[in-house]
């Protein structure tokens, strides 16, 4: 076989692998429907966006879309860091084609290069092509030309590729050389801060595909393409061929840390285990940071609507508090994904206890942040009198929503939330209460609204206990090593 035909075979196999990986997460139907959903959603947004967001200028819309494509690319491009995980077998039982260099005479750089191209093409076909088709279909509906719509899809993809290539290079350098990668990240962050929040450089100058919309200059698109190719080649060249996991000695802290959780009773040893796993796996910062980021993102989004777009939303501290609990779903999901619990199969311990330990650690981690968040927002907005009810709302929604999540998904939240039936049940159990709180919060100084919020909070707390108690009945027959398949439930 020639060099090129080997690459072609590998490339085809990688595409199949990516497709099957998606199917294992969201099922065959979900995988097929995702591009269709993207297409329909694009038409929907294009059509209703102009009605709902009358105050939103075209410039801001384009900026928001390109910023979203940029963030998406950053997330996907972090695959440069996968090298270390793959080569030191930190991906657990998942075996991927990327592991081939361990046994076969093929370089890791070459494989990662193919992997990068595969990812770029996959996301082009899976997301940006349906998005562009959606834009073209909605073109006559909203009265924007076909060419502009096509260029919209193209510049969004170019933006995605620019950030994907940058993120790939950064993660590859960081994985090979922590200090060098850290310095590079610092430089990029400082440069980025000149765009926001300093505002010295317009975003369009940093992102040529976005700049195209103000200058109409095709050179910016050619420059973007050159940037993508050169940065991704640099990324591939930065990939190391060998990775070694560093072995450290750790202080044996399980029993000592157990003392911190004695208040939780017979779950204390499991909480100590969860705590150590979070810290040692490097999961603590993403879990806490993710939750903090989400609730700060909510604050930022509302601020953009209120100040940036001049839209008045009758939000107050109670409205924020309701959402704080809701955001915790992601945090609980991350906690359940840190480490498989298969080892527990050999011990006389129930799934219920392990779930309750994870719920407890989630509540401990998020309680401090959500308390601070509600206090600060209450004070900033001059709504100190609403803080006690805000705290009650935040605690009760957090407890209720995590109880619903734990009941519906047990230890397999990340996978089971891809199941439409489970997600539907979750929506039925969560949306009415949350909507009642959010709507009542708009008229918070009305005594009826106050009573409604109080009642919903008490009801949520009241229902949470039996829900958590039923976790055992629902999940105790399941092995810890169980891997749910989408659609099975």
């Amino acid at each position: 076989m020639t060099w090129l035909s080997v690459d072609l075979e590998l490339f085809k196999s990688m595409l199949k692998e990516e497709w099957r990986l998606h199917q294992s997460f969201i099922g065959r139907l979900g995988s097929v429907m995702f591009p269709v959903f993207t297409l329909v959603f694009t038409i929907f947004i294009a059509f209703f966006g102009q009605i709902v967001m009358r105050n939103l200028s075209v410039d801001i819309s384009i900026q928001i879309l390109h910023s979203a494509a940029f963030l998406y690319g950053l997330f996907v491009g972090a695959l440069g860091g996968m090298g270390e995980q793959v080569m030191t077998r930190r991906l657990g039982q998942v075996s991927m084609l990327l592991q081939l260099p361990q046994q076969y005479p093929i370089s890791f750089k070459r494989l990662m290069g193919l992997f990068f191209i595969k990812d770029a093409l996959f996301y082009l076909g899976y997301t940006f092509l349906p998005l562009t088709v959606g834009l073209l279909i909605s073109s006559p509906i909203i009265g924007v030309g076909f060419f502009e719509m096509f260029m919209g899809g193209a510049t969004l993809f170019l933006t995605f590729m620019m950030s994907m290539a940058s993120s790939f290079l950064l993660s590859a350098v960081y994985t090979s050389n922590k200090k060098g990668g850290g310095m590079l990240l610092l430089v990029v962050s400082l440069f980025g801060s000149l765009v926001w929040p300093v505002g010295l450089i317009p975003l369009g100058e940093l992102l040529p595909p976005l700049g195209y919309w103000s200058t109409g200059n095709n050179v910016s698109l050619i420059l973007s393409f050159v940037y993508v190719v050169s940065v991704s080649v640099l990324g591939v060249l930065s990939i190391r061929e060998r990775y070694e996991s560093k072995v450290h000695a750790y202080e044996n802290r399980l029993l000592r840390d157990e003392n911190r959780f004695t208040l939780i009773g017979d779950l204390s040893i499991l909480l100590s285990k969860e705590w150590l796993e979070l810290k040692r796996s490097g999961g603590l910062i993403p879990v806490v940071g993710g939750f903090f980021g989400l609730i700060m993102g909510l604050y930022g989004l509302i601020s953009i609507f209120e100040r940036g777009m001049g839209l008045f939303l009758p939000f107050n501290v109670i409205s924020y508090s309701g959402f704080v609990g809701f955001m915790g779903v992601m945090t609980y999901s991350m906690i359940t994904s840190i480490e498989p619990n298969n080892y527990m199969n050999m011990l006389p311990i129930s799934v219920e206890k392990v779930v309750k330990a994870k719920v407890s650690i989630y509540l401990i981690l998020t309680a401090v942040i959500s308390t601070g968040y509600v206090l600060v927002i209450g004070l900033i907005r001059g709504e100190a009198s609403l803080i006690p009810l805000g705290l009650l709302t935040s605690y009760s929604t957090a407890i209720y929503i995590v109880a619903v999540t734990a009941y519906l998904t047990g230890l397999w939240t990340n996978t089971l939330f891809f199941d439409a039936k489970i997600l539907g049940k979750f929506a039925i159990l969560v949306i009415p209460g949350l909507t009642a709180i959010e709507v009542a919060a708009f008229w918070i100084f009305n005594s009826y609204a106050f009573t409604v919020i109080l009642l919903v909070c008490v009801l949520m707390l009241f229902v949470s206990k039996p829900l958590l108690d039923r976790v055992g009945k629902k999940w105790d027959k399941q092995e810890f090593s169980y891997t749910p398949k989408s659609g099975e439930w």
Binding site: H248, A249, Y250, E251, L255, K273, E277, Y343, M346, K477
Partner: protein, 240 residues
């Protein structure tokens, strides 16, 4: 006295029948070996016997506890599963501490020292399990199963990844347990070791037990490996 009773147990995974109406019993103090080719149903049977998996039908009683009470069942036995590994982000010592706490063992420090010493893990006690070699992880798994000194041990490929020194050490320990009247149920492909250890055996293929009895009843004067080859070959023709 029957310490393990299995009565007409069946289990399917989708269209695949992993076990078909299996019945047998194990006497207290037996060293019982279960052998079969890959995919014969050994691990499925072991998971059912140890309360990890429910059968579709049939009854399992281990040490007077039904499979319907898996927590009580697991509290009376020790398990070494074939594929699992100790918790990634706990050290070897912490893993044993976790087992002791969950099993309600009192003299934790003493027990842990005994098994750390037995398996020569002194230098590795503070190493995360993810950084241990496969053999060292297997030692932690074995120590986790032995540490509460249960009356029955269920072992799935217990010697895998162990060096010859520790294979012998574990073998001697298991023999001593049986001499003391405890029961061992073991699945392995290493028939030479099994032949030296087991007092009773069963051979399983395609979810059916094709022969069972004392070692002598099954092998006669021949070797276990020869008998295994013959029985599995014959049953393949009949079952498939």
């Amino acid at each position: 006295m029957h310490i393990i009773c299995v009565d007409k147990v069946s289990k399917s995974f989708g269209n695949v029948k992993a076990l078909r109406e299996i019945s047998f019993h194990v006497e207290e103090g037996d060293f019982y070996g279960l052998f079969g080719p890959n995919g014969a149903g050994k691990t499925t049977l072991l998971r059912i016997l140890t309360g990890q998996l429910d059968p579709d039908c049939g009854e399992v009683v281990v040490s007077d506890v039904s499979h319907r009470d898996p927590l009580e069942l697991k509290s009376r036995i020790g398990i070494v599963p074939e594929a699992e590994t100790p918790p990634t982000f706990l050290t070897a010592q912490e893993t044993l501490e976790l087992v002791c706490k969950i099993r309600g063992i009192k003299n934790i420090e003493e027990r842990i020292e005994r098994w750390i010493d037995f398996f020569g893990l002194e230098d590795k006690r503070s190493t995360l399990c993810k950084d241990l070699s496969k053999g060292q992880r297997q030692k932690v798994m074995l120590a986790s199963a032995f540490i509460h000194e249960p009356g029955i041990l269920f072992l799935d490929e217990p010697f895998i990844n162990l060096d010859p020194i520790y294979q012998r050490r574990v073998r001697d320990y298991l023999k001593r347990l049986v001499e003391e009247g405890r029961t061992i149920f073991m699945c392995t492909h290493i028939l030479e070791i099994a032949e030296k250890l087991c007092t009773s055996v069963a051979i399983i293929n395609c979810g059916v037990i094709i022969k069972k009895g004392s070692m002598y009843e099954v092998t006669g004067t021949g070797a276990l490996e020869d008998e295994f080859m013959k029985l599995v070959g014959e049953s393949d023709m009949v079952i498939r």
